[in-house]
């Protein structure tokens, strides 16, 4: 963590270098574009004034055409840059999907994917960072990996199938650590900016390459319709030639900006794993592999600077985005003699993983059953293993969350249970088991379970998530009444699944906001204190803190419904106001010096739904 700010400063300096180079490249392109246009004007013997100078004041014979050409090309480049930037800003998963990556689910059975997940989680511990999303580039036999993302939270790490098969566990760990240090050093954000900027000058050539690539695969796939592939290939070739200069300039900029960052990330990986030798070995495996280490993917050129080692082999060595492998190996392992020996193709996982692979190939089902029996991978602290297993399965997690929302009242509970059992995806046997083991769990364990289950629910398709939320809403409200715990679980799942982009318009009416705060704090006060006198004083304390006059309702009915309505209004407040409100809530709760479970549950839910940190949250009862 020491050097984090230093790295950030370096990354920022690199950004300036990038912008300067980009401006130079654009100027060069525009200057060169004048030639063909002026030549075209002379050949056609026409004034292209209408085409390029539309809406511009005539400035004089010489300058107006230059200005027009500059303006037009500038606009085209800028809109391409903006398009790509907005696309990539959404997070690392966009890039991973564009490169053909598939996300590794947390409940996967494939031993190699399990191993990859384990390795990523291990390195996350060493780096003291959240675990990023993990992707695998299937169908890529080469050894490579990349990290992408805009913020730390939405970063992903992707590894090719070849790297999984050919590298040993330690080597894979070193490669993952290299990618982690790219995220840590802020390189991923630099890369997003660079990709977006360079897309402005390379998109014509890129489009050509995509067309050629598509035509190649189309002709390979369906030979009987050979005439279809010709035209796109020719158009692609023309576009590639047309955009050739832009592509080359883009490559040169990538090489200038990125190459040094690789040494830095290698050093960072060595710092994380304290095993520079393993990283050197991984690089050696790439250097010695019998086939070329190029990536077969149409988008690979655009993202070539993201990868662990060269994803493409450029025609000039100084255009390559990465330092030569031998130099990187020498930096990590000074005792290396520089000898390369060709190694046979095959698996690296000799002993344990060999057995795993063999078992896997024998019978996938058997492995699955064994894993289920051994229960080791999804063990949650202090929670029955069956529940942990259910919470990791996207389909089962749906009804598990519904089970969490059961009411205290026996009659209402029975209605809910009947509704849940009627769902098509509920297994009656598992259902009975889960009901029995849920009964013994405390609130904090249940919240832990909910967190895991939500992770699994995110794996459902979007419409599935929406359907689930609608169903959950039906089940949570029984006969128009709502239970406190059920309300809490429902709000937490809605918040986690629909997220910040639910698109509600902010509430500006001060009266409505004040009313909502009043309802919220009234509910809090009445849940926290049995005595009416105490309730009133607690409310007073909070109202003084907020400097809002509040009326005390007395112990009225329907407190939870009131909470729900108030929360939906309070959610739209600006962040600073939310903070103040949560502080007032804390004051109201801790007024009598003791905090009971209901108060904690309410505060936990409020803080989570409003995205505010609260200290009481971490002290839930077991």
């Amino acid at each position: 963590m020491h050097n984090f700010f230093k790295h950030q400063r370096q990354a920022r300096r690199k950004t300036w270098l990038l912008v300067t180079l980009f401006v130079l490249a654009v100027t060069l392109l525009i200057a060169l574009a004048h030639w063909p246009i002026l030549w075209l004007m002379r050949v056609l013997d026409s004034d292209l004034y209408i085409l390029f100078n539309y809406g511009l004041q005539p400035l004089g014979e010489g300058s107006r055409i230059h200005l027009g050409v500059t303006f037009t090309i500038g606009t085209i480049i800028m809109s391409a840059v903006l398009y790509k930037y907005l696309q990539l800003r959404r997070g690392g998963h966009v890039i991973a999907q564009q490169l053909g990556g598939e996300q590794v689910q947390s409940n996967c059975y494939d031993p190699l994917h399990r191993l990859l997940l384990n390795v990523v989680e291990e390195v996350a511990i060493a780096a003291r960072m959240p675990v990023p999303g993990v992707y695998v580039l299937k169908n890529q036999p080469s050894i490579n990996a990349f990290a992408a993302g805009y913020h730390r939270q939405d970063s992903v790490i992707a590894v090719t199938q070849g790297a999984l098969r050919l590298l040993s566990r330690e080597q894979l760990q070193a490669v993952v650590a290299h990618e982690f240090s790219h995220i840590r050093h802020g390189d991923v954000r630099l890369n997003v900016r660079m990709t977006a900027l360079l897309f402005g000058i390379t998109f014509i050539g890129q489009a050509g390459e995509n067309l050629i690539h598509g035509a190649m695969y189309a002709s390979r796939g369906q030979n009987q319709r050979g005439d279809g592939a010709g035209l796109p290939a020719i158009v692609g070739l023309i576009l590639t030639l047309f955009g050739w200069l832009g592509t080359q300039l883009g490559d040169a900029i990538k090489a200038l900006v990125c190459r040094q960052r690789e040494y830095l990330a290698d050093a960072g990986a060595a710092e994380l794993t304290r095993a520079p030798y393993d990283l050197a070995q991984a690089l050696l495996v790439i250097a010695e592999s019998p086939r070329k280490n190029t990536l077969r993917q149409s988008n690979a050129h655009l993202y070539s600077h993201l990868f662990f080692s060269d994803a493409l082999s450029p025609w000039l060595s100084w255009l390559s985005t990465h330092p030569p492998l031998s130099k990187r190996i020498r930096a990590l392992d000074p005792s290396w003699d520089g000898m390369l020996t060709e190694r046979p193709r095959g698996h690296a996982h000799a002993t344990v993983h060999g057995a795993m692979m063999a078992a896997h190939e024998q019978s996938l089902l058997q492995v699955a059953r064994h894993q289920r029996n051994s229960e080791n991978q999804i063990k949650l602290e202090g929670i029955d293993a069956n529940l942990g297993y259910l919470a990791h399965e996207p389909v089962d997690a749906q009804w598990l969350v519904m089970m969490l929302c059961l009411h205290q009242d026996w009659q209402q509970r029975q209605t809910q249970l009947r509704q849940i059992v009627a769902l098509p995806y509920v297994d009656a046997f598992k259902f009975d088991q889960a009901e029995a083991s849920l009964a013994g769990l405390g609130m904090s364990k249940k919240l832990m379970l909910l967190e895991v289950a939500i992770g699994a629910l995110r794996c459902l398709p979007l419409h599935g998530q929406r359907e689930f939320l609608a169903k959950l809403k039906n089940i949570v409200v029984v006969d128009g009444s709502l239970d406190l715990n059920a309300w809490s679980f429902y709000e937490l799942s809605v918040h986690a699944l629909s997220g910040a982009n639910s698109g509600t318009i902010g509430q500006f009416n001060r009266k409505i906001i004040a009313k909502a705060c009043e309802q919220l704090l009234n509910a809090l006060a009445s849940f926290g204190h049995s005595d009416e006198q105490q309730q009133a004083t607690a409310l007073n304390a909070a109202s003084e803190a907020l400097q809002l006059p509040m009326r005390y309702y007395g112990d009225a009915q329907c407190q939870v419904t009131r909470l729900q309505r108030a929360l939906s209004i309070v959610k739209t407040l600006p962040q600073a106001k939310k903070q103040v409100l949560i502080q007032a809530c804390q004051l109201c709760i801790s007024h009598d010096g003791e905090i009971n479970e209901a108060e904690q549950v309410i505060l936990y839910t409020l803080a989570a739904c409003l995205n505010v940190d609260s200290e009481v949250v971490s002290r839930l009862p077991g």
């Binding site: 031993p111 795993m356 064994h370």
Partner: protein, 195 residues
């Protein structure tokens, strides 16, 4: 007079900044310790599964399995003891010792597994081995992160201006590093006998 006042204000600001840094570093290493804790629990939960699977194949090597179980139970109680009260050096040393014993017992078990090709090929066992390897790595990395955080805290505390402030504000004692239980034993090469 004003000069004196300005100096006082500057000193006060510096003291506040140093104190805040001390608190932040302390929280960081305590959080890092919590990470180790999580991983140790993970290992303790893994051991019974491992033993249950291995038992079917190596009944007559019961001593190895018994040793693993005993070491595991000791480690669990050492971890529980640490949860009562603050992190101090003696309890940490105890935990490190019992975890070290568990590590060597598990190592012995894995060596005896090598002699049983059937057991090694068993998919549950292969799976458990992978999980065990992963957990060992996690513990090692968590310990590394903890030691890094402790080093940061200690060296900040001992450097010049903070050293004046640290003692007054309750940051007197150095935070303990988590070490291997008996470095002499660990560094010894394994004995090989031919008879």
């Amino acid at each position: 007079m004003t000069v004196l006042l300005i100096i006082l204000v500057v000193v006060a600001i510096a003291v506040v900044i140093i104190f805040n840094n001390l608190v932040q570093y302390k929280n960081e290493f305590q959080n890092a310790f919590a990470q180790i804790d999580v991983q140790l629990h993970r290992r303790h939960d893994l051991v019974p599964n491992l033993v249950a699977t291995a038992q079917a194949y190596l009944d007559h090597e019961n001593t190895t399995l018994k040793a693993v179980i005993a070491a595991r139970n000791q480690a669990v109680s050492a971890l529980q003891a640490l949860h009562q009260g603050n992190i101090d050096a003696t309890k940490l040393a105890q935990l490190a010792a019992s975890e070290g014993a568990l590590s060597s017992a598990l190592g012995a078990l894995q060596i005896s597994v090598e002699d049983y090709p059937d057991l090694k090929a068993d998919s549950t066992m292969a799976n458990l081995s992978e999980e065990l390897t992963s957990t060992e790595n996690r513990i090692a990395f968590a310990r590394q992160a903890y030691n890094d955080a402790v080093m940061q805290y200690n060296s900040f505390k001992q450097s010049f201006p903070p050293v004046l402030v640290a003692k007054m504000t309750g940051h007197g004692i150095d935070a303990p590093l988590l070490q291997l239980e008996d470095p002499q034993v660990q560094r010894q090469a394994p004995k090989v006998s031919f008879n």
